[in-house]
Point group: C2
């Protein structure tokens, strides 16, 4: 953990290093991934079976080896502990409500020149969701990816997920049932992403691929960007907590550790204007780590990437630093969080006040937990209904409207040296068709 004081001589250089440190995986897997994608494109299901045997120790042979049935998902859902089932249902209901309000409106109007203009939004035909196997197979992630697609109106929702040595994850199956997933294929890795993009004999191609994965999955999505739509490439999770000295140190320590337990390269940063409070949080983190079942991961993250910054005045100093960090999650634990929030230009998601721990947004509050990491909140947004929709703009002119604006188009086409453009307008001018 690094502790900085904004009044120290070396502060600017030290903080600039933290901003510049993207903590991305530097493993270059691009060559390996492009070979896998070319193989899947050429050999389809046979390539999928080979890679799945090799990487997952799972043989794709019978229909049940390839796919998880809707019945199996329903059975997993019905077998859930009632408390957990109710929690999943609460999450799904609230996520659906928040995302339903994101649906964009069509536009259709006629302006003073008589030109009809507008845009209509439509869902993509099919979406593919990558669901990791092993430790990172989170049912909450499945809901956060699947529900916006459903709300958008996507007709075909396809999950790919590796089942190493054939092992299924009942929680993920239950979430797939609840979210209304249409197909689940037992394949993972770059080859599964390639199958979704190119299609195989068994798996029809999709239009958009979202969902988290390892370095191979992320690189496959990056290489297929343009063949399909993808969500933002994601790096390790991060939280920035802006807290005054009036907070309970144990609460803030738990918030910092809730990111740290995700990943040894996750990052938790506290900015406060109370040095004694900073001491107290530091001690509280150590106390909480003692009994935390995920302490190995959380301690490594906190030791290697944790940061505490003490500034003079939180209201005056914190937002400028926060905007440079452009963090995935920003908590503002003060009496008047709105005043600091209004100064934040770049953040994936904000958590306002002392009773809004970031984790409430991970699960049940409603907004999406798939958010831009690694300073990408400078230009990117969290996953939304818009990622599963696209817009068609439209125009309609009659003879009068074309007479009003057509000559300007002809002048510009001539100036750009595109005479057929000009001709397509001028040939119609003064004619009723």
């Amino acid at each position: 953990m690094i502790r900085l004081s904004a009044t120290d001589a070396g502060f600017e250089a030290a903080f600039a290093r933290i901003v510049a440190d993207r903590r991305e995986s530097d493993s270059d897997v691009s060559g390996a991934v492009s070979a896998i994608l070319a193989d899947v494109r050429a050999r389809g299901d046979a390539a999928l079976a080979d890679y799945t045997a090799r990487f997952d120790g799972h043989t794709l042979d019978s229909e049940a080896d390839w796919r998880i049935s809707a019945q199996a998902c329903k059975a997993a859902f019905d077998a859930l502990d009632p408390t957990l089932r109710a929690a999943l249902e609460t999450a799904a209901t609230r996520i659906a409500a928040y995302h339903a309000a994101q649906k964009p409106e069509d536009r259709d109007y006629t302006d003073a020149q008589g030109v009809r203009l507008g845009a209509v939004w439509k869902p993509v035909d099919a979406a593919g969701l990558y669901v990791p196997g092993g430790r990172a197979a989170y049912p909450s992630s499945l809901l956060m990816n699947a529900i916006p697609a459903k709300v958008a109106g996507v007709q075909r929702l396809v999950v790919v997920t590796p089942t190493p040595k054939g092992a299924l994850n009942d929680l993920v199956l239950a979430a797939a049932h609840l979210a209304g997933v249409d197909e689940i294929w037992r394949v993972g890795g770059a080859h599964a992403v390639g199958a979704l993009a190119y299609g195989t004999d068994r798996i029809a191609p999709v239009d958009v691929i979202t969902g988290p994965g390892n370095a191979y999955v992320a690189e496959a999505k990056r290489q297929l960007y343009g063949v399909v739509g993808i969500d933002m490439v994601a790096g390790p999770s991060e939280i920035l907590v802006l807290a005054d000295g009036k907070n309970n140190p144990d609460w803030i320590a738990a918030d910092l550790l809730s990111q740290a337990e995700h990943d040894p390269v996750a990052q938790s940063i506290l900015i406060t204007d109370d040095a004694a409070f900073a001491d107290a949080v530091e001690a509280a983190v150590e106390r909480a780590l003692q009994s935390l079942p995920t302490q190995a991961t959380a301690r490594q993250s906190w030791d290697d990437f944790g940061v505490i910054v003490v500034v003079d005045d939180l209201e005056r100093d914190a937002a400028a630093l926060a905007n440079r960090l452009a963090a995935e999650h920003v908590e503002i634990a003060t009496d008047d969080p709105q005043s600091l929030f209004a100064q934040i230009r770049h953040a994936g998601s904000a958590f306002l006040g002392r009773h809004t721990p970031e984790a409430i947004g991970d699960y049940v509050a409603g907004p999406n937990h798939v958010l831009p990491t690694g300073r990408r909140a400078r230009f990117a947004s969290g996953l939304s209904v818009l990622d599963f929709m696209k817009r068609t703009s439209f125009l309609q002119l009659d003879e009068t409207a074309l007479a009003a604006i057509g000559p300007a188009a002809v002048a510009l086409a001539d100036a750009e040296g595109l005479p057929a453009h000009g001709l397509s307008v001028s040939v119609r001018l003064g004619h009723k068709g």
Copy 2:
């Protein structure tokens, strides 16, 4: 040109080949581009000067070699022929009006559980626009990229454009003045894109890079996706015209040629239900080509990639084919275009009725002319204000709201094996803070 009839035995196979043919450049420049980007990242302005001398024959030495001043842009604008200046102003005004209505609304509401939820939209801090040199240096493209950024509220708008052997394009300078561009740097190619993303001593980094370019520029944007935001990677332009037999063949021929003259690999497709009209359009294309100054390019495109499909019934048959093509531009030249348009799920932009040539949308109508090509309208939209903005979701809970939904979050965190997530909620339950 290929002519197909939907009733022919081989139609499905022939049409499927047209759908599968993406007409993308297959030149693999990824290795060359990644070397250039690494060099720009390491050596900054020195690398820019080296590549600009090598590729553009332009020496970057004095300030005027590096930058085009605001005064030079204003002078170019003032020197325009008045008709052309008025045309540019008409275009800018109409583009700004259409895009202003795209600005998304913030959301802020409190639900029945007392949870405050919402999202705020903010512009990116800085945007970079790539403007090609030579034949493809279109002032209309500059307006179409710059104005949405300005409408979004972007504070710093940076253009990079190559000036081969030092030659400036007065029309582009005039458009830059009109659009309110803040900086113009005389660099182009993959190295210019790298400079925008990473920043150099002279050029501060930007957050989003848009604009068309050659294969190197497109590959540089693809590789930098995630470091910055980018617009969709674009392929050759394309038009699909759905026309009944009551159209003037010369009008439709001009529309087909207006795409063909862009690029030898552009594509123009006509679908009609009148074989005699198809004959007439074919003849009209030949006639128009005779006198077209861009006939060399247009003929190559039409000969190699032009398609005429005759179907039985336009209203019944055309939309299904159009949705498979997911074309950049779709013209619907019928008496009741709305009825066919309602069946179109995938199109970048639509042009309705007999008096709406696609070229009117390229210049002055208002909607953006930067549109998804190569079947990407299945999942992508044209350039918009949203490409220069991003959304921060937010939550605010008090003790009561956390008591209402917190236990569900704790249950899910436990099930996912993330105890610090659960702790950050449970430690607050039943406490006033």
